[in-house]
Symmetry: C2
């Protein structure tokens, strides 16, 4: 624990900067809702363009047609001591692209994302963004 | 992007280890649901004990009596290259302790968490856990 609590001010970020920040990182957190309960799981992701986010995960149990309808995806880089840094939130819908045979889905499955160990259930998904927002915290 | 996708195996963690891992960090992500839409926001937090999580935030607009009824709180430490690391998920309910005058809430508000700049709306909350789960990814 810090002896003194730091003080920070918040600034909203334009969408272009949000997309640039997301593309600069590789681990984000996916948020889905199951029976009214929010869940958050970390995912390794890629940004193929158009604001989309592609990831694969072994944590398939909370991801299904219902829970993919409204998803959140968050990436941040925040200093634990000062709380300075940034965060970006994507809201949109998710799509299971694991078996899709359209050329786009096939190409996305070539992206170099984490492969889960044999026996782990795994699947490919993409997020189509409806809104992308971000904020930066800096010392007040 | 890595040239080759790494491969990792997953192991579930016991609750004691999950609580120890949460206590070792200071920035986590809060998940709430607003009108069916999940939101994720990073928060600076403290762990006063009993599995509880205390945080204050300026992002008050998505936090209200309805959205606090079911919350998720996630902490992780994952290597961007190898995806090795751990994540812990707390699900439970949130409570606004900003104005509460019980001794416990007053004491919690003494915890050294980030103070937002003057003019930023800010509030104190605590999460009472219903379940705490975690997993560790390691090289397969």
């Amino acid at each position: 624990m810090a002896d003194q609590a730091p003080s920070v001010a918040i600034r909203e970020l334009p969408r272009e900067e949000c997309e640039r920040l997301i593309a600069s990182h590789r681990v984000g957190r996916l948020g889905v809702v199951v029976d009214g309960q929010p869940h958050i799981l970390p995912v390794n992701y890629a940004t193929p363009g158009r604001g989309e986010v592609v990831f694969r995960t072994a944590a398939g149990t909370v991801l299904n047609e219902a829970s993919l309808r409204q998803v959140a995806f968050e990436v941040d880089d925040i200093d634990a001591e000062t709380h300075e840094g940034w965060s970006v939130l994507v809201v949109g819908y998710g799509r299971d692209i694991g078996d899709a045979i359209d050329a786009d889905s096939v190409a996305l499955r070539e992206l170099p994302l984490v492969t889960w160990a044999p026996g782990e259930r795994q699947q490919w998904y993409k997020i189509v963004p409806a809104a992308v927002t971000g904020r930066r915290n800096s010392r007040a």
